[in-house]
Amino acid sequence: MADIAVIDALQISLSALVGSGGAFYLLLGTIVGLVFGIIPGLGGPTALALLIPLTFGLDTTAAMFLAGGIMGAIPFGGSVTAILLNTPGTAPNAATVFDGYPMTLQGRAGEALGAAAAASSLGGIFGILILFATLPLAREIILLFSPPEFFMLAVLGLCAIAVSSDGKMLKGLIAACFGLMIAFVGYDNVGGGVRFDFGFDYLWDGIPLIPSLIGLFAIAQIVSLFLAGGSITDNPSAVRVSRVGDGVLAVFRNWGTLLRGSAIGALVGAVPGVGGTVAAFLSYSVTVQTSKEPETFGKGNVLGVIAPEASNNAREGGSLIPTLAFGIPGSAEMAVFLGLLVLHGLQPGPSLLLNHMDVITSLMLSIAIASVLASVLCLMVARKLALITLIDVNFLVPIILAVSLVGAYALKSSMYDVIVAVVFGAVGYLMIRFDYPRLPLVIALFLGEILEVSYRQSMMIARGDWTVFFTRPLSLGLFVLIVLSLSVPFIRYLLRRRAAKRAVAP
């Protein structure tokens, strides 16, 4: 990993970008990524899987520019629908709906989009810089995390989300439990049998995440819009006044939030399996907990958009760390990307760094550029996009339904997935109806498998000694964070009571 090699490789990548049509593939990838990110249900894994056959005709560097463009643009594309329609385009964007959608309801969609765009592009650049900086330590970072740490990190992610659902913590925890129960359906990777399949062979592979996400958000949102009628925001004057520039400026005024979000994204994103989604929620909840006015979150605080979006784009850099160090995918799209590498005759893993550094630098370069490009492209049309919130919802309902169900089909070419999306649409609507927060359920679906597998692996490694979770320093540290995050409501309750007593006393 000599520095000179990196600089040489960067030069090769740059000349490929400028000279041999790399810029074209990067732009194409960015546009595809943006579109796939915006459409609920279509995300990075689908975009890359659909592109695999198309890259056969390309040389490896061009394929990297295409893939990098997609990976860089997807996270921001996903935030657009999260903000405008309360429907995260991809799972890690789910944290953005907490404050992004309330801003839209207040007519501040333009500002939210501006903040998301600026946070995404800067986060993407920081993520790549952090990746460059940590590459020499990549092995050590990855080796720090073993099953007990994976377990604690998954629990921490779940708790951070349950606590973030302000005032609904109990229902949030219930939703998380049921999410885990759903996640346990299907093949048991540790014991080797199928569980809770109830005779349906479709369930052998478990309940698919992406269609569930489409149902819980896009379809449930369609039902809500159908019932509410009118338009998304009833404040047209505010929509016209809300400035995209205000959102961009807000990011520059809140460097701390941006940097913290990026760092959390890049480092937590490096942890395979748990990474990206947990990172966005951690970034959000840390921002809430350290804020002087936590009660303003969930009601349209622009920091609640900046924190998860910075983390989201930075995680793309982070998820390359395990890939480069050990050939292990850091995220779902990275898993598909590894297949693409192999098809192009490259073996993922440390040998990539030794033999094909230019491929890596091309990818990193294109992720960073695409983050910025996607934001700029979107900023140019952000004001027009914001006008969606003034459209008669009767147009939005059939269009979103049709597009998101096609999206549910596209990942695995399965109509059963589409049925799952509709079923989860009903679940999602009932959760809105009876006031259960949906995000803990979604995150539990994502984390369920790793939570169980890492717990059982830890117990096997320690030969049944459960103290393994508390004797390893990092695992213990994460446990302390869990306890702290869970005690936040209690602490707030005590503080409020003391304040109330003081107010009464004199």
Partner: protein, 169 residues
Amino acid sequence: MTERRKFADAVPSLVLLVVAVFYCVASFQYSPSARAMPLGVATLALVLVLVDLISLGEGRISRIIRRIFQGSGAPAPVPGLDGQAGQRFPPARELAAFGWIIAFLLLAIALGFYIAIPIYVTAYLRFYGGKSVLVAAATGLGLVAALYGMFELLLGYEVFEGLVFGDIM
């Protein structure tokens, strides 16, 4: 608060209770190591749902639970759409919303997306949205053209084309 109202508020929790119990029972057909985590989580869910049920009540314990988890001892807000308290819709309209969705799903399964989308979008806009036939049809056809262009022409990917035409689900 009337007894009937109280019962209505408790229905979702009771349903979850039944699901959790069913899940616990179902987990016993698997080996001890395979059921440990699902059983544990389902039991935790049971306990939490019970706590939630208790918190609906009027007694001292109910108030304490509410204070801890909800931040105030006031009765739980009436569930509504996205926290817009009190906003409930007649069940007939809720069923209608799902009726349109399921009709589209069945149409797509039978005839494929490229035929189902224009029919559904046009019908929805015309008969539910009250738009003119022209606007409704143009929206439906425009949407299908955009999807066809992106998947078939740009990506070379074939979207489901219906059981009637021999496609596999």
